[in-house]
Each structure stands twice: as structure tokens, then as C-alpha cells.
């Protein structure tokens, strides 16, 4: 007999049941009672559709129990944690035609429903010494301890359902090939430039007459081309699996009734391959190491040893082909003009230009004053100083004139190495072919070079008053009027109340 719990009710008769913060009766554990396996699987299917069993698994316990009336039923118990979790479990159980209970050890009462928003309390507890007593608004039964059921074993006993759409779905695939087909499949995949990995797994012998283990090649293909999916599915001895969760894959063309991705019961170090058509699953307790497919490609060897022929011998006379460097004008647009050389006679112009230069140009441009003129370098471009001969930095420390290219067209690094400048010098190749080396230490910021600062006068600082300074006290007097002491009176004769306090 169940009583509905009323609002603000504080006393509950069922041991192990208490009211949570929302006032809902809740024990430490929740329990789902399924009369048959079908309903338990239905509950698992619905529950795992949009949430994982990971939270429930540490405390999950499935048992096949026998009731006092002799019927066999399935219980699924778990830590209740909160009424939010229990609400979802109860909704799912209602959909799967199962019942939900809450309790702590032996006595479980029906979890709340629309008729009792705060849950139920058992008015009269069962006196039987059974390990489990369930109190429902429609029945009240006791159950024996029952036998535990392993969720992983239960999942593997469920036969996958036919679902051809999984064959066409993109994504990674696991391909298992019988021993004889493995090398051919490796060659086929390598030749088709399909990336993947392969390993060889062993299974126990099929029968006692053949003691050697069964070997199969297991391929892991990140993306199996669509053109191959039909071939793989239709080739006897080759089975394609679709990864369905950590440590488990289901044969392509089938779908497991329960969302395996929401059931983290499979060891990630191994692999379980669930096969369709009533075949038993293939279990690999520990996955061996995989190797890249290309490592197993067939090798082609030359028919004969090439020998020492065809090896050139170094010449000792390179001068025979050396030519002088030349500069030729080109009509292509200028790019990356980062330096200029202002001749000595144009330096007054540069001084006048200094007043109109942007702060960033003054800050970033570096200048070296030499007897050949002023060399200015700005890594962002020297266009702001339209004076002199422009240079392009062909290589770090090597500047060639803009609008010219060096012939023969050797690499700039080769050209700098051929010019062999002293360490710490930048080379400027002028249009006439002459090369000027400027020491890097001669470059100073342009702003420093052009500014001639004037004399300065020292300013006297003014001390700031302390924020904690206190305002002075200024006595303000008002006219006293005609009767300045009006309203004043001497102290009363009776003792002041405060005097009495002091005397007390």
C-alpha cells in the first residue's frame, strides 16, 4: 500500500528514502524493473539514443531475479544521485513499459509520477525476509537475490539489425581479410593509393583437428573510397566493419540495436567485431601493432648491379667557365624596394625631407653616412624617401639596384658568397656593377641622425598634496544677537543618569 507524499511532508515511513532539495522522495539507488529482456533492451535503446551510460556504469547492476510468485524478471539498479537523473530514467522506463523504483537497500518504492509529484511512501513494509521488496501502486512483491548479468555480454548477445545505409556512410572502416586474401588486398590498396594500416590478428583454432591459429589481416582505413565499398562488401573472405564506439565495430550493412558509442564497456586496448547474420562476434583481446600499408607494398629489384659506371669525377679547373657579373635592366615592376643610396650632393634635400617624414618612417629607417653618400634601409619599404638610387634586398645583407637583375641569374646566396664580403657588412651593388660594402654597425636610426635637439630648461615640479590631507578647522562666528544666552540653564540638581551608572 503506497501513500502519496504531500507537500511539506517531513516524515517518511520507508527506510532509506528521504526528501531531496525539491521535496521529492529519493533513495540512494534507483531501480528499473523490466518483466522481460525485450523491455530491458528497449529501455537501453531509448536511453542510449541521446545520452551515455557512462554516468551510470560505475554503479550499474543488472540482475535476473525471481519474484515471490515465481516469475523471472530483470532489474537494473544504479546510484540515484539526483531526481533529475531519476526523472529521465523514469521517463525512459515508462516508454519501455518498465517500472521505476527508488530506495537504498531492500525496500524500493515506486518513483514519482504524475499522480504523485513528490513520490510515494510505503505505509506498510513487507515483513518477509527477502533481499528485495518492491512497492508499486499496482503490486507489492519480494524478490530473491537473483543472478548478475554482464552488460557487455548482454550487448554482444544481441543480434545486429540489417541496415544497408551503413555501407554507404562515409568515415573510417575496419576491413578483415582472410589469410590468403591479405597480401592481395594490401597490393590493391597500395596501388589505388588508399592510405591505411594493417595488422595480423590471431584467433584460436576452429577445431581441434587443426591446431594452428586462424590468421586474418585487419586493415584500418581512414576513408575507404566509395568505389571500393561495393567491392569489399561483395568479396567473400573480406568483411568490412564500421567503428561504433571505443573498442567495438559492427559489420557494414548492420546496426546494433543499442547505441554502442553510449556504452563504454569495451576495452579500448582490444577490439570486438560484431558480425551480422547470426555469426558470433570476433574478439581481439589486445590489438597488435599496425603497420603502414606502404610498408607492405611489393618491391621491384633491378635485374643487375649498376656498378661504378656513370659516376662523375670532380674537375680542378672551374675558372674555365667563369664569367663576370653583369646588371641588365628589366621592365618588370619593382617589388620590395627597401634601401636607397642618397649621394652626397643630395644630402641637403634629405635634410629638408626629414620634416615631412612620418614617425614610423623615422623610427624604422636606418641610415649609414659614408663617403659615397647616405645609405638608408627600411624593412617596410623605402618609398617614403624618394631620393637616390633604390635597392632591392635580394638576400640578407645583399642589395641589388631596383629595375636591374644580375646575370648570370645565380641564386642571391650564391652571389653573396661569390662576392665574399667581410663579416658584418652589407653589400650594395650599384647599376654600374660596382659593389660597396657598408659596415652594419654604421647604421643608426634615421630619427637619431636627423634630429638636432635644442637646449632645454629645467622645470620645477610641484609637489602633489597628499590624498589624505585634512581640511583645516576655521572658526566661523555669527552675530550673538540680543540674548546670547537665551535658553541656557544650569545643570539640574538631581544626579545625571550617567552619574548613576558610574555610581553603580
Amino acid at each position: 500500500m503506497l501513500d502519496r507524499i504531500a507537500l511539506h511532508q517531513t516524515h517518511l515511513g520507508t527506510p532509506g528514502i528521504a526528501l531531496d532539495a525539491r521535496g521529492i522522495a529519493l533513495g540512494q539507488r534507483g531501480l528499473v524493473l523490466a518483466p522481460t529482456f525485450d523491455r530491458l533492451v528497449r529501455w537501453l535503446r531509448v536511453y542510449t539514443r541521446d545520452r551515455s551510460l557512462e554516468d551510470l556504469l560505475p554503479s550499474l547492476e543488472i540482475r535476473r531475479v525471481r519474484s515471490s510468485s515465481g516469475s523471472q524478471e530483470i532489474t537494473l539498479s544504479f546510484a540515484a544521485e539526483s531526481s533529475d537523473r531519476m526523472d529521465h530514467v523514469a521517463d525512459t522506463a515508462r516508454l519501455a513499459d518498465a517500472c521505476t523504483f527508488t530506495g537504498t537497500s531492500r525496500h524500493f518504492v515506486q518513483y514519482r509520477d504524475a499522480a504523485a509529484p513528490f513520490g510515494y511512501d510505503a505505509a506498510l513494509l513487507s515483513a518477509a525476509d527477502a533481499p528485495l521488496a518492491l512497492y508499486h501502486s499496482r503490486f507489492e512483491r519480494t524478490y530473491d537475490e537473483g543472478t548478475p548479468l554482464d552488460l557487455r555480454a548482454l550487448l554482444l548477445r544481441l543480434q545486429p539489425e540489417v541496415d544497408p545505409s551503413t555501407r554507404r556512410a562515409p568515415g573510417p572502416r575496419l576491413v578483415v581479410a582472410e589469410q590468403g586474401l591479405g597480401p592481395a588486398l594490401i597490393h590493391y590498396l597500395v596501388r589505388s593509393q588508399v592510405e591505411g594500416e594493417v595488422t595480423v590478428c590471431e584467433w584460436p583454432p576452429r577445431d581441434a583437428s587443426r591446431p594452428e591459429p586462424v590468421l586474418r589481416h585487419v586493415f584500418r582505413v581512414p576513408e575507404l573510397p566509395a568505389r571500393m565499398r561495393g567491392l569489399m562488401a561483395g568479396t567473400p573472405g573480406v568483411t568490412v566493419f564500421v567503428p561504433s564506439g571505443p573498442g567495438v565495430a559492427v559489420e557494414a550493412g548492420y546496426r546494433h540495436p543499442v547505441e554502442l558509442r553510449a556504452c563504454p564497456v569495451f576495452d579500448t586496448a582490444g577490439l570486438v567485431l560484431v558480425r551480422g547474420g547470426g555469426a558470433e562476434p570476433w574478439t581481439i583481446p589486445r590489438l597488435p601493432c599496425f603497420g603502414d600499408l606502404r610498408a607492405f607494398a611489393r618491391l621491384q629489384m633491378l635485374a643487375h648491379d649498376p656498378g661504378p659506371t656513370g659516376v662523375a669525377v670532380a674537375s680542378r679547373d672551374p675558372d674555365a667557365i667563369r664569367v663576370p657579373m653583369r646588371l641588365v635592366p628589366v621592365s618588370s615592376p619593382w617589388h620590395h624596394v627597401t634601401a636607397t643610396c642618397v649621394p652626397v650632393d643630395k644630402l641637403p634635400l634629405l635634410r629638408r625631407l626629414a620634416y615631412s617624414l612620418a614617425p614610423r618612417t623615422l623610427q624604422d629607417t636606418r641610415l649609414a653616412l659614408t663617403d659615397r653618400g647616405a645609405f638608408l634601409v627600411c624593412p617596410h619599404g623605402i618609398e617614403a624617401i624618394p631620393l637616390g638610387t633604390f635597392f632591392v634586398e635580394a638576400h640578407p645583407g645583399l642589395f641589388t639596384p631596383a629595375g636591374f637583375e644580375v646575370v648570370p641569374g645565380v641564386a642571391p646566396a650564391v652571389l653573396r658568397r661569390a662576392l665574399d664580403p667581410p663579416h658584418g657588412h652589407s653589400l650594395f651593388v650599384d647599376p654600374g656593377g660596382a659593389v660597396v660594402a657598408v659596415p652594419d654597425e654604421a647604421f643608426v636610426p634615421l630619427g637619431t641622425a636627423v634630429l638636432e635637439a635644442g637646449a632645454w630648461d629645467a622645470a620645477t615640479t610641484v609637489a602633489i598634496d597628499s590624498a589624505l590631507a585634512e581640511a583645516p578647522l576655521r572658526l566661523q562666528l555669527a552675530p550673538v544677537g540680543l540674548f546670547p544666552l537665551a535658553g541656557t540653564a544650569p545643570a539640574p540638581d538631581d544626579p545625571w543618569p550617567e552619574d548613576r551608572r558610574g555610581q553603580g
Binding site: 589624505l468 585634512e470 581640511a471 583645516p472 578647522l473 576655521r474 572658526l475 566661523q476 562666528l477 555669527a478 552675530p479 550673538v480 544677537g481 546670547p484 544666552l485 537665551a486 535658553g487 541656557t488 540653564a489 544650569p490 545643570a491 539640574p492 545625571w496 543618569p497 550617567e498 552619574d499 558610574g502
Partner: protein, 289 residues
């Protein structure tokens, strides 16, 4: 005597006298309060602006934390109201326009009040009183003399009207200001001045921490009172007292303490001298040169 509106008097005393005495600014005195009203004031803060009370609380805590790490001080109690009223009347007695025997009567009323107020019963009360009266010797009166082409006039403790300062070049207006300390303000006949100084001294006996913190003052000269020696009799009071003494300039404080100790030595008051000597020894140890 007509009935006095005690709430209005308390509000006036708090806002125009006590608040600027603590926070700073213009301290206004008058009309006189009298002894009966002074001993009846207790409260009147309900009508005071909370911002003003908050400013006063902050300023009082600032003063208190120079001596002790306190964060909260209660509002004025009946003793503090009476002391504030007594100080008000003492200062009001210096009003230059008071004629006849009005200053003497005012001083008598203030003495009646001071005679009723007990010394602080606890260190918390001592700190609380000190936070109210710590700045009493900073009180200044500015006298402004204004002369113009046809005459001159002196304004004591009040600003000259703007009409007298108008057209300064044309009217050849000249102003000169003179700032007077409380000592200089007490420019009274000798007997009346002694009565005023005695009133201030008796007020300081009621707030011993203020007495110690301002012991280097020019007037009234510091003297060891029962309240100040009683403060040093308690361990925590001794710490507070030494901290209060440390607020003044060292040489001037030492000189004032020496002057105050001399009469006890000359009178042969061995108990007092022993107590004073222990204070001075501890002060010397706590503040080595």
C-alpha cells in the same frame, strides 16, 4: 527658561560643530547650549544625512587607526554629547561680541557639564572620545581687516561682505588677514582666561588619549591626571598611551612630560612618580634615539 528643542540642538551641534571638528572645514558656534541641555543630549542623529555620518565615521576611524586597528566606532554617546556641548560653549565664550558677564556664565555652565562627565570607562570609550576631539587644538579663527578710501572695518571670525571688496582699485580696498590659534583667541581678562584654560584642561581629563596625543601643546600645559595615569595602569591602555605620546615631536613631548612630572617629584608623591617613571622608561625603551 523656555523649553529647548533638544533634537534641533543636537542636530545643530552635530552638523555645525562636531562634524567640521572631526572632518575639517568651517566650525560654527552659537547660540549657547547650556548645562541642562548638554546633559540631556543623546541622539539626534536620525535626521542627519547618512553621507555626512559616513564621512565622520571614516575620519574617526582614520584617527583611531593611528592608535589601534579598529574599523568600527559607535556614534556619540551621552558623555560625548555632553563633552561636545561643553567644548562648544567654551569656544563660544571666546566670542568677541559677548558682553557683560555672559562669558563667565557660559564658562560656569561648561564647568558644570564637565563636572558631571566621568572619565572613560573603557579603552573603547577612550578611543571614541579621542576621535571626536583629536583636532580641537587645530581650531583657527581668521580675522580680516578691510580698509577702503573712506573707512575701515575688522571682521572677527567671519568673511567680509563682497560689497566691501567691490571695485578694489577704484575704492583702494586693502585687506589683511590674521589667523589666531585657540590660545590667541582666549585674549580675555586674566581670571576669565584662567577659567577658560581650566575648562579645556578638565575637558582633556575626560579624553586622556587626546590629552596625551597633544601633550606638547602650548596651552593648557600637560599634566598627569588620574585619567591619564589610570590609562597607563592597564596593559592595553599603556600601549595606546605610548602610541598617543609617539604622535608628537619627540623633543617637545619629552619636555612636556618632564614639566608635568616635576610637580609630582617635588611633592614627593612616590606612587605617582613610580608610575610615571615606568611609563617614561617604557617610552625610552620603545623609542630609542
Amino acid at each position: 527658561m523656555g523649553r529647548v528643542d533638544l533634537a534641533a540642538t543636537a542636530k545643530r551641534l552635530y552638523e555645525r560643530f562636531l562634524v567640521p571638528l572631526v572632518v575639517g572645514g568651517d566650525v560654527a558656534v552659537g547660540p549657547a547650549i547650556g548645562a541642562r541641555a548638554a546633559l540631556s543630549l543623546d541622539g539626534g542623529l536620525a535626521a542627519v544625512d547618512t553621507d555626512v555620518r559616513s564621512q565622520v565615521d571614516v575620519a574617526r576611524v582614520r584617527v583611531a587607526r593611528r592608535l589601534s586597528p579598529v574599523d568600527l566606532l559607535e556614534g556619540p554617546d551621552a558623555h560625548e554629547w555632553a563633552l561636545a556641548a561643553a567644548l562648544h560653549d567654551l569656544v563660544y565664550a571666546l566670542h568677541p561680541e559677548l558682553g557683560g558677564d555672559a562669558p563667565d556664565r557660559l564658562l560656569d555652565l561648561a564647568h558644570q557639564v564637565l563636572a558631571r562627565v566621568a572619565p572613560p570607562a573603557s579603552l573603547a570609550e577612550a578611543i571614541s572620545r579621542h576621535t571626536l576631539f583629536a583636532r580641537m587644538f587645530e581650531l583657527r579663527r581668521t580675522d580680516t581687516a578691510v580698509s577702503w578710501w573712506t573707512g575701515s572695518r575688522t571682521f572677527l571670525g567671519r568673511s567680509p561682505p563682497s560689497r566691501l571688496l567691490a571695485w578694489p582699485r577704484l575704492r583702494r580696498v586693502q585687506t589683511s588677514e590674521r589667523t589666531l590659534t585657540l590660545d590667541a583667541m582666549a585674549d580675555l581678562p586674566q581670571g576669565r582666561r584662567d577659567r577658560f584654560v581650566e575648562g579645556i584642561a578638565r575637558l582633556l581629563e575626560k579624553t586622556p588619549l587626546t590629552d596625551l596625543a597633544t601633550c606638547a601643546r602650548p596651552f593648557p600645559a600637560f599634566r598627569w591626571s588620574g585619567a591619564s595615569l589610570g590609562l597607563f595602569a592597564r596593559p592595553n591602555g599603556r600601549v595606546l598611551g605610548l602610541r598617543a605620546l609617539a604622535l608628537g615631536a619627540r623633543e617637545e613631548v619629552d619636555a612636556a612630560l618632564g614639566r608635568a612630572t616635576r610637580p609630582h617629584v617635588e611633592a614627593g608623591a612616590s606612587d605617582d612618580v613610580a608610575r610615571i617613571r615606568s611609563v617614561l622608561a617604557e617610552r625610552a625603551l620603545a623609542n630609542p634615539r
